[in-house]
């Protein structure tokens, strides 16, 4: 369970989060949407403890995350831009992250096979293409089987085949009863995988509900149109 209570965050004079209240207590895939600069990444980084909130509280499974780091054992995070130490090989990176998370027994081989990473295992990370790096990143995210998964723009750089595998992987994790947070600008992807949509606007939760609710509310045939409509509306309001 994730509870966010009246979360504010200022970067200097710039108010990014202006009082977010959000409780996620059921399993499923939650899409966090919003225009550029609406605070999606800041919200996610606050949950991970990378950004320290100005005020407000975040609780994971009932206990506050402030000055706590062990709660991160229950979160798998896929960052937006993945940059790894250039001197490392893919195999060594897997070993290192497993070592750092203190779970050396997890086996990445099924994910490596599935995403077609075998030929790259001995390559240095600096020589990988953007899409391959993202696959490495995905493997690292799904490997540890934690109850919470946070994916920031998981589709970046993936080819259509990998995209299908990503969808399957998210579906499998969902079936295991996990809570998955996703941000994406690809609406088809969001529509297909998400159970609920949280729409952020100017640092607040503007809408929360299912995709169908959103379509109904805005009178639009597709989620893409509904979101575009929502953005247009707020721009002129």
């Amino acid at each position: 369970m994730i509870e966010i209570i009246d979360l504010h965050k200022n970067f200097g004079k710039n108010e990014v989060l202006k009082g977010i209240d959000l409780t996620i207590d059921s399993k499923g895939v939650f899409a966090i949407l919003g225009p550029n600069g609406s605070g999606k990444t800041t919200l996610i980084k606050s949950i991970l403890g990378m950004v320290l909130p100005t005020s407000g509280e975040i609780k994971i499974n009932g206990s506050s995350i402030k000055k706590n780091w062990e709660y991160r054992k229950s979160i798998d995070y896929l960052p937006q831009i993945a940059n790894f130490p250039a001197n490392l090989r893919v195999k060594e990176l897997f070993k290192m992250i497993k070592d750092l998370r203190k779970c050396p027994d997890y086996d990445e081989t099924p994910y490596v096979k599935r995403l077609g990473l075998e030929p790259h295992l001995d390559k240095r990370l600096s020589n990988l293409s953007g899409g391959t790096k993202q696959k490495v990143n995905l493997t690292l995210t799904f490997l540890f089987d934690s109850p919470f998964i946070i994916l920031d723009e998981p589709t970046t750089g993936l080819d259509p085949a990998a995209l299908i595998i990503l969808r399957e992987m998210i579906q499998e994790e969902k079936d295991k009863g996990k809570i998955i947070l996703v941000t994406s600008h690809i609406m088809n992807f969001v529509e297909e995988i998400s159970d609920e949509i949280v729409f952020l606007l100017e640092g607040k939760v503007y809408f929360r509900g299912s995709g169908d609710d959103l379509k109904e509310e805005t009178n639009q045939p597709s989620l893409e149109m509904a979101i575009a409509n929502l953005l247009k509306e707020t721009e002129y309001a």
Binding site: F11, K45, L48, G49, M50, V51, L52, W69, E70, Y71, R72, K73, I75, Y77, P79, I81, A82, N83, F84, P85, N87, L88, M96, I97, D99, L100, R101, K102
Partner: protein, 260 residues
Amino acid sequence: MLKILKYSFFDLIRSRWSYVYLIFYFLLSVVLLFLNPSLSKAILTLMNVIILLVPLIGTIFGVMYYYNSKEFTELLLALPIKRSSIFLGQFFGVAISLSLSLILGLGIPFIIYGIFNSTAILEFSLLILLGTFLSFIFSGISYYIALSNENRIKGFGFAILVWLFMAVIYDGIFLIALNMFSDYPLDKFALIASLSNPIDLSRVMMLLKLDISALLGYTGALFKNFFGSNMGSIIAFCILVIWTVFPILALKIKSAKKDF
């Protein structure tokens, strides 16, 4: 923290620059030993190079390592690891690999030359010890500066400025002050001023050990009195330790408050 230290250290010793740095010291020592018939003269020349170069390289490595590993640091921050462990681990990785380059680069030629059988062993050990202190102090300061400045150019510029101040400008101001107030008794001022800059402090300690304090004139005699006593040496080392610990503490506090 030890795990992060281990990975940072191995990442660094695999990089080209560590070897360049090591080979530079190696060649420098070989050339100096070859040209100088006396060991203490070689050590003196080496000291003049080290006292400026070690802080400069420490500064550059500290800043560069922070900015280069920034994205990876963000990856680590999302893992169940304590924040201070990440930054302290990385800092010690940088400082230890720099010190190791220095120790090996200077140590191997001198050992081959036969330092263990000579009377200059104490002077040489002090040189290595001071070089290690300076590596820690300056990589710590610059790592802290990099952590405080998001902008790379600003961070780099500021770190170099600190080095320039400590290595050059400080001495300039010091000399001008000595000159301007030469009518007053300045020995205490001179002593305190040299104690409060780690580069000056290292230089004075080394010069006194090499027994050429006569070059320093009257103040030199005072310095010899101070540093020659047990108390003086202990105070000097305490100040070096404070200079080492201070950036590490600042680093710890800063990293706990920063957003990524």
